[in-house]
């Protein structure tokens, strides 16, 4: 279906000669963008409907007084579907801690929420295949579970700003939504996300079509291939201060992979960019003492680096 449309657009509407280099590139571009936008629209729509059942207020109740480990697993999984924006990180953190969600469990949520979500899933799936997408999502969840669990084990509650514990949080009714309201929410949300990410997707796909000719294919392979042990930690450290969502980092991920950086190193870079950022740390400084921020960042850097090595060995 899609290929018929792509063929029609390329060879009939734009009248490009079949078999020419330009024709191939344009055909590839139309086909791939359509495929990814359709996948994005469908999957975001369905995830948004699931999401309406888990507003942060509900997630908080589910996680409150959960045992460690089980709580970490649940938090990391809920992080996939719960809407999260780094500007809400502080109210979410306080709301969680105040209602009795253990600190480590809260961190599992804070790590998983920006790093693994349906947008990352679709983009990786569309650009690199479902295997890579599944590996990214499952190890992302694993990193969130383990890092949160370790932070919990360290008993760092004293490194949270004191006022957080004294805070009186008002009770807010969770309004129950009608089916129509859920569908409306899902439609609005899908539109909003598509508006936000379309440009990045177009850039990533154009790179895919045109980058081949310009830089030598294995430009990065010598420096950042599997054999270079420093490649993974370096990629992770470079990614730490950078701030981007999953969509924004995709064009870079594509270019790096295309130019010979190994899969594990690239995925580790993507995790580090989405999970950690300078703006988020500045925002979290409102509730965490600097020492806890440092511990949080270090544990994540180590966990993501190990994940990167693991991929490079396995893949």
């Amino acid at each position: 279906m899609l290929d018929v449309f792509a063929d029609y657009m390329t060879y009939q509407v734009f009248e490009i000669t079949k078999g020419s280099k330009l024709g191939d590139a344009v055909n590839f571009f139309i086909y791939d963008s359509l495929k990814i936008f359709i996948m994005l629209a469908i999957i975001i729509f369905f995830v948004s409907i699931i999401r309406t059942y888990f507003p942060p207020e509900r997630t908080k109740q589910l996680l409150s007084h959960k045992r460690e480990f089980l709580g970490n697993i649940l938090a990391a999984l809920l992080g996939i579907v719960t809407p999260f924006c780094s500007c809400s990180a502080v109210p979410v953190f306080i709301g969680f801690v105040e209602s009795g969600v253990p600190l480590g469990v809260t961190f599992s949520f804070l790590i998983s929420s920006p790093m693994v979500n349906e947008v990352a899933l679709v983009l990786l799936w569309g650009m690199f295949g479902w295997k890579i997408a599944m590996i990214y999502i499952s190890t992302g969840v694993l990193v969130a579970i383990i890092s949160g669990y370790i932070i919990g084990k360290f008993k760092l509650e004293h490194l949270v700003e004191e006022y957080v514990y004294q805070m009186k949080v008002g009770q807010n009714e969770i309004e129950s939504m009608t089916v129509a309201a859920r569908l409306q929410y899902a439609k609005d949300y899908t539109k909003e996300i598509l508006r936000k990410v379309w440009l990045y997707v177009v850039i990533a796909i154009s790179l895919g079509g045109f980058i081949h000719g310009y830089a030598p294919q294995d430009f990065l392979a010598d420096y950042a291939g599997k054999d270079n042990l420093f490649a993974v930690p370096l990629a992770v450290l470079v990614g730490v201060p950078l701030y981007s969502n999953a969509a924004g980092v995709i064009p870079i991920v594509y270019a790096l992979m295309e130019k010979g950086m190994s899969m594990g190193t690239v995925l580790a870079f993507m995790m580090s960019v989405t999970a950690l950022s300078l703006p988020e740390m500045i925002i979290l400084r409102n509730v965490l003492k600097p020492k806890l921020i440092a511990i949080f960042v270090s544990i994540l850097v180590v966990a993501i680096t190990l994940t990167g090595y693991m991929f490079n060995i396995v893949l």
């Binding site: 507003p55 942060p56 207020e57 908080k60 809407p83 924006c85 500007c87 809400s88 502080v90 109210p91 979410v92 306080i94 709301g95 105040e98 006022y163 805070m167 009186k168 949080v169 008002g170 009770q171 807010n172 609005d188 925002i283 409102n286 509730v287």
Partner: protein
Amino acid sequence: MMKIEILGMGCQKCSTLLETTKQAAEELGINAEFVKVENIKEIMKYGVMSTPALVVDGVVKVSGKVPNKEEIKALLNS
């Protein structure tokens, strides 16, 4: 006079919500006092976990999204 509070720690969506609500109130001819609440302690008093949030006369009307002008008008009228 109606008291309209916009809760949020200074993200871009908060300013969008403030602007849209101002327009909505103006078009309805409502005389309202607008307050931007950026202090986290004040925000948490309302139990809001996703910002921005719209509070009218002490009642949380919306949280975690920016409704369009028509939706805000409906909220202000109710």
